[in-house]
Symmetry: C2
Subunit: 338 residues, 2 copies
DNA sequence: GATTGGCACTCGAACACGGTGAGTGCCAGC
DNA sequence: GCTGGCACTCACCGTGTTCGAGTGCCAATC
């Protein structure tokens, strides 16, 4: 295992590099950090760290920069999560408290996170897999045309048109609406299919076709809605990436436009506390030079969705993690209240 | 006025510059275009064009590039709208036909437009100012808590929670729901306020407070929803902007993140046929080196919203205009069908 | 009078060159 | 095991030079 001092050297390298964006040399290190040893000693330590793969030199006779593995060690062993200052905490709370509905909460969260971390923020809408049905509404728009509205306990509303195989009277609509609600309100999405499967049989034969159509539309909606949506913001912060722009930024922007990629990205963040994926640890190769800090959030004890940021591997991990965690907590609170 | 040939020279300059992204000189021009005159003549013409402000040189002894004014003339007088090829038209139709709901239509449109023009696409959701109410739904969630759902004829659904000043019985809910619908269904948003103003008086005194609360929530929602939303895509195409990246791209990304700015941008596009705003013609200074091509689209004769693209002033105007127009038409068709 | 070929001039891009300095690796001494 | 010393490497920077595309002007031509 690496000695205490060598770890200290690694920490110093990471901190300096994150700050200056330039390879850091032995002399500069001893000047800026009170390591209590001479540059020569630091050089020896660096040689070891390099051999172990924690740091690398861009070219001979340049300073060292941390590798992905170096950042990994830094995050795991050397860095804590930097708590936010209390003015910051207050600012978060004030900002989020102003939200009027779910869209607004998510929108504000993404802006807040982007601003706080000065990176690209990603916020997933509360997932519906664990959600329950708050209400199902059925409206008759025309004799053979219905509208189905689904309201979830996370405050999301989805609607679908239903074209009926046969005219469907107002009383039948009311009847179906009532029975549907008594069956599924308060139930989880996953339980709904078996709860409603016997429903058509209790209707008049001529209405059964319509009832079946309505039910299958409802089930479709539930499945579709389980596919999560997300919102992204702060892409302008990508311009702070590095000097070698077009090459670095392009694949990142492309990856960020693909909802699928982002969903996978967040999906990989399984650690209940907080997940940090560094550089090549990310499966998507467009994101090989970025790190992702993500965490679940939720209204109750359970996490219903995730949020996080995407930034250069050369990022302020403690600060970013602190901000992400804090924002996740407050969003959870807001959701619990509403 | 400029002679026929000088206009031809300007057109050639614009075309070449758009293609090569490099200042174009007199010799290269005569080689690539059959102008029928010598480089020297072209040089004289260029001197005139420069004096008139249509072209400029980045530095002495370099080729010329078009100015904003030059592009303006090109767009107004020299360039037509390039129609899409029929495979392209078919691709558009196929792609848009697959959409399942309004969100999907808008989402697909923005992706399509970005891909087609290789630029940043902006699509505004169908505006609600001219929309009508299709249905208002009122649900009782708790004795003193209601949910209000508004459904518009463009297929949009919005919901709001309503906390009642006093408990509100099921029959009252049904009553209010029925009366509300009979009053406002099929009406325009702007007409709703006066249609419902007398409604509270026809209720029992103890219910009037609640009815008023519901109504004011409804009116609020209508106003809020009139503020248009929009979707943006293809930001990765910004990387094709130019060589001097960070400086150019940053303000553009920032501008694009501000919904307000974009709404204003589209709002300025008032020409019913098609609006092209070039460089400094855009009010927002972050977009001074970009051009915006926008057009209204709608389900019927009326335009209900706008869509367009944002790209470098150095863009293929005829092609872009063709794509924007074609997409707008097809989206209009899709909306009319659903 | 418009067009053309010729010519001198300008100036950025590309390349070569040498000096500078930060940084390294190694080694002998404490 | 730490330190100071030393020779070496190599990116970076400023300078100088060349090269060539492009220009403006002018006199000759149609």
């Amino acid at each position: 295992m690496l000695s205490e001092r060598r770890l200290e050297v690694l920490r110093a390298i990471v901190q300096d590099y994150v700050g200056t964006e330039e390879p850091v040399g032995s002399k500069a290190l001893t000047e800026r950090h009170k390591l209590g040893v001479s540059p020569a000693t630091v050089r020896n330590d660096m040689a070891v760290l390099e051999e172990e793969g924690f740091i690398a030199q861009p070219h001979t006779s340049a300073g060292r920069i941390p590798t992905d593995k170096g950042y990994r060690l830094f995050v795991d062993k050397l860095a804590g999560v930097k708590p936010l200052s209390s003015p910051e905490r207050r600012a978060i709370q004030n900002f989020l408290d102003g939200a009027v509905d779910l869209d607004d909460v998510v929108g504000r969260t993404v802006r807040l996170l982007a601003q706080l971390t000065r990176q690209v923020a990603v916020v997933q809408y509360p997932s519906l897999t664990r959600s329950t049905v708050r209400h199902v509404e059925l409206l008759s728009l025309a004799p053979a045309r219905l509208m189905l509205v689904l309201i979830t306990d996370t405050g999301r509303v989805e609607q679908r048109m239903v074209d009926c195989p046969a005219p469907f009277g107002e009383t039948s609509v009311a009847d179906l609406r009532a029975r549907l609600n008594s069956q599924v309100v308060g139930r989880r999405f996953t339980d709904v299919p078996q709860l409603v499967q016997d429903l058509p049989e209790s209707f008049d034969p001529e209405d059964r076709g319509t009832v079946s159509t309505v039910l299958s539309t409802l089930l479709e909606t539930l499945v579709e809605e389980t596919e999560e949506r997300l919102v992204i913001g702060g892409t302008a912060n990508l311009t702070r990436f590095g000097h070698d722009f077009p090459l670095t930024i392009r694949p990142v922007l492309e990856a960020l436009e693909e909802q699928v990629v982002l969903l996978k990205l967040l999906g990989e963040a399984t650690d209940p506390a907080m997940t940090v994926r560094i550089g090549h640890e990310n499966a998507h190769e467009g994101l090989n030079s970025t790190s992702v800090v993500a965490v679940g959030y939720g209204s109750g004890g359970e996490a219903v969705a995730k949020l996080g940021v995407v930034g250069p591997t050369r990022m302020d991990y403690p600060g970013t993690m602190g901000a992400v965690r804090a924002v996740a907590r407050y969003v959870g609170q807001i959701l619990a209240e509403s």
